[in-house]
């Protein structure tokens, strides 16, 4: 057991998977000698060499498209896209190729790739370094979407992702990268993709979230009256979604608030809210509440905390939902 940050837990998972499976190769911008701009791949180049930890030219479509080819040929590529804002140029290769290859070839060709992408706001970064595009890739199909919020989960989920025979986007909430440490077992372990985690059990209201907002939700909960019992669910995997855990909880509590950083409209909150309604119609005591980013472009960092669902706004959302 070691006390690790999210960055270190991911680094450990990569190290172990590379060690035990030589089909695993990492590729991306500045990931080798530099160790990645967030130092997530630090030390791996020294350890595994230039054939397995590869600095690519500055070309995201190239990174994704060659990863598709590597995967077709039996490798297990783990590309890194430097920031989620630069998934844009890789969009077509990811969605129209990685995500479709298995089904369009009726499983003749498969794409076991895991693309690692730092995601989300709150670190005072420049433009296009603070977005949350997970809903886009959830709607696109053929791609699993994972977003851990803790070092422990990150290690287990990343190992599962790399071993998964299908494409996985592994979103790493940058705001959590170094925000705290946690005990992480030295040995390899997996956490099943598609399993939510009940962070806190409760009976009055359910909060559903994932990624960095987990911590804003916990902060909001601290400010609630003692007698409010909140069930907090961290989805961990966004697609396929563990909706059963959510439904069970809402059938118990009758109320739900969904929290995410991405813009409200057509965000994942909508999907979750709809599914809750479909499955808990007779249980709901109040409309499902969404606390999310606004329907604007993520502002530059001077205003980012006004945009993000910070604790006070979540608290308000919970109270309003309870008061309905």
């Amino acid at each position: 057991m070691a006390n690790l940050t999210l960055v270190q837990a991911i680094n450990l998972a990569l190290t172990q998977e590379m060690q035990h499976d030589d089909r695993v190769v990492l590729l991306g911008e500045d990931i080798s000698i530099n160790g990645g701009v967030f130092r997530v791949t630090e030390g791996l180049h020294e350890r595994f060499g230039s054939d397995r930890v590869i600095d690519t030219p500055l070309a995201e479509s190239g990174i994704m498209g060659t990863s598709v080819g590597l995967a077709i040929a039996g490798m297990r590529p783990v590309p890194e896209i430097q920031f989620e804002g630069f998934l844009g140029p890789a969009y077509d290769q990811l969605v129209n190729h990685a995500g479709r290859m298995r089904v369009r070839t009726r499983s003749a060709l498969t794409i076991p790739l895991t693309v690692r992408v730092p995601v989300g706001g709150g670190i005072h970064a420049p433009e296009l370094h603070s977005d949350s595009p997970e809903a886009i890739y959830t709607h696109s199909k053929g791609i699993k979407v994972v977003m851990p919020s803790t070092p422990y989960d990150a290690k287990g989920l990343l190992i599962s992702a790399i071993r998964d025979p299908d494409p996985v986007i592994f979103f790493e909430p940058k705001r959590v990268y170094r925000s705290f440490r946690e005990e992480v077992p030295e040995e390899e372990y997996t956490i099943e993709i598609g399993q939510a985690k009940v962070v806190n059990e409760g009976s009055d209201i359910t909060i559903v979230t994932w990624g960095a907002p987990v911590y804003q939700c916990l902060a909001a909960m601290d400010n609630l009256p003692e007698d409010v019992s909140v069930e907090l669910i961290d989805l961990r995997t966004i697609y396929p979604m563990d909706i059963d855990t959510v439904i069970q909880s809402v059938q118990k509590t009758g109320r739900c608030v969904i929290v995410h950083e991405a813009p409200l409209t057509a965000g994942l909150g909508a999907e979750i809210s709809s599914q809750i309604q479909e499955s808990c119609f007779l249980y709901l005591e109040a409309p499902v509440q969404r606390v999310a980013g606004f329907d604007t472009i993520m502002p530059y960092y001077k205003l980012e905390l006004s945009y993000l669902p910070e604790a006070p706004r979540i608290e308000k959302g919970i109270k309003e939902c309870l008061a309905y």
Binding site: P57, V68, G74
Partner: protein, 374 residues
């Protein structure tokens, strides 16, 4: 030195078999044997037959949109002949039927694809081909990735990728060329420059005299050849595959050819191009010149031609039968191949669609009951 030359380059064109069937013996040396040429000729004729029949299938409503290959068979077959079956990979676009067939793809797969059936992409094990690519320009990156894997695993295999003149305008072409060159992957880039991207002539797609010079940007060996000449196509490709196999990295080959048909059966080329241009290129048809050559060497005659045509007809009509006789796919198919292990909601959707419910809301299919409110 205030002014000095820092870069120089030149590009060569090569033709070995001209449109009258005359061979440049010197250049042809150590390329194709008589048997090879007969074999390739027979393949070209068979694929031309496939092309004609596919066209008719579309016209009679038995198949969807189809892009004819007519006129480009030499580029496909000459290059494909340099690939090792079961070893090397082909990563095609959609105008290389002859190369795919020769490399081991059962011909009815091609028809199945254009009949709107994914089983046409379910390439059999051991046939190293990726499926026909509908989006333009995106598959060359896959070719580079596959070649890269070969290189990383130190396997002496190469990847041939086919694409049109039009596709060289896409950003992915640029990234594929650059990755191949930087990582020295064993990739052979084969551009079938057939002068048109649907209705857009080469001059409106690019302002360069040749497509071949696009490779200079990447410091990649490059050349231009007569793409209707199986000798030149083979020789240029063989040099490239030999180099790639020996660790010498990627190459680019511009094969100058012509699309004798419409872009696809959904297109009407008379809207945008002159019949005179088409007629001039008909003279350069690769099948005509190969036959002239074979005849001049006493390797071919009318009798053999008739027999070949009969054989081609039989092959293709069997292929059509195979493609048409296959049972209709079930709706399970488009669910079952989404992931290796199907997530629960997809199982539910699949199963409720089977039961002819709307396939989405589990309660309504009786698969998950809504308990009464507590």
């Amino acid at each position: 030195m205030p002014r000095r030359t820092v870069y120089e380059a030149s590009i060569e064109y090569m033709q070995i078999l001209d449109e009258h069937g005359n061979l440049d013996e010197k250049l042809a040396k150590d390329t194709l044997s008589d048997d090879d040429v007969v074999y390739m000729y027979e393949h070209m004729v068979t694929c031309r037959q496939l092309d004609e029949i596919a066209f008719k299938l579309q016209r009679s409503g038995r198949m969807g949109t189809y892009p004819q290959n007519k006129g480009q068979e030499a580029a496909a077959i000459g290059s494909g002949f340099a690939a090792k079956k079961g070893e090397d990979w082909l990563v095609p676009c959609y105008r290389e039927n002859a190369a795919l067939y020769m490399h081991g793809l059962p011909m009815h797969y091609i028809l199945l694809h254009w009949m709107g059936d994914e089983r046409g992409n379910q390439i059999p094990d051991g046939v190293n081909i990726t499926p026909i690519s509908i989006p333009i320009g995106t598959h060359m990156l896959h070719a580079v990735g596959i070649a890269w894997a070969m290189k990383l695993r130190k396997e002496p295999r190469v990847v041939l990728t086919y694409f049109g003149d039009g596709s060289t305008s896409e950003g992915d072409f640029h990234e594929a060329m650059n990755f191949a060159s930087v990582f020295q992957t064993p990739t052979v880039f084969i551009c079938q420059n057939n002068q048109w991207a649907i209705s857009t002539p080469r001059e409106s797609q690019m302002n360069s005299e040749t497509v071949a010079q696009k490779a200079l940007a990447y410091g990649m060996p490059t050349c231009q050849i007569d793409g209707n000449d199986i000798f030149a196509a083979y020789k240029a490709t063989k040099e490239a595959t030999d180099r790639a196999r020996a660790g010498g990295g990627p190459s680019f080959i511009e094969m100058v050819t012509y699309r004798l048909g419409d872009h696809t059966t959904a297109d009407d080329a008379r809207r945008y191009r002159d019949q005179a241009e088409v007629d001039a290129w008909k003279e350069k048809d690769p099948i005509i010149r190969t036959r002239l050559y074979l005849e001049s060497r006493g390797l071919w005659d009318d009798d053999r031609q008739i027999k070949l045509q009969d054989r081609a007809k039989t092959i293709v009509s069997e292929v059509v039968k195979a493609a048409e006789d296959i049972e209709k796919p079930g709706t399970d198919d488009f669910f079952d191949h989404m992931f290796a292990v199907l997530p629960e909601h997809l199982i539910r959707q699949r199963d409720t669609l089977r039961t002819s419910s709307i396939g989405q809301n589990p309660e309504q299919a009786g698969l998950r009951a809504t308990p009464a409110r507590v």
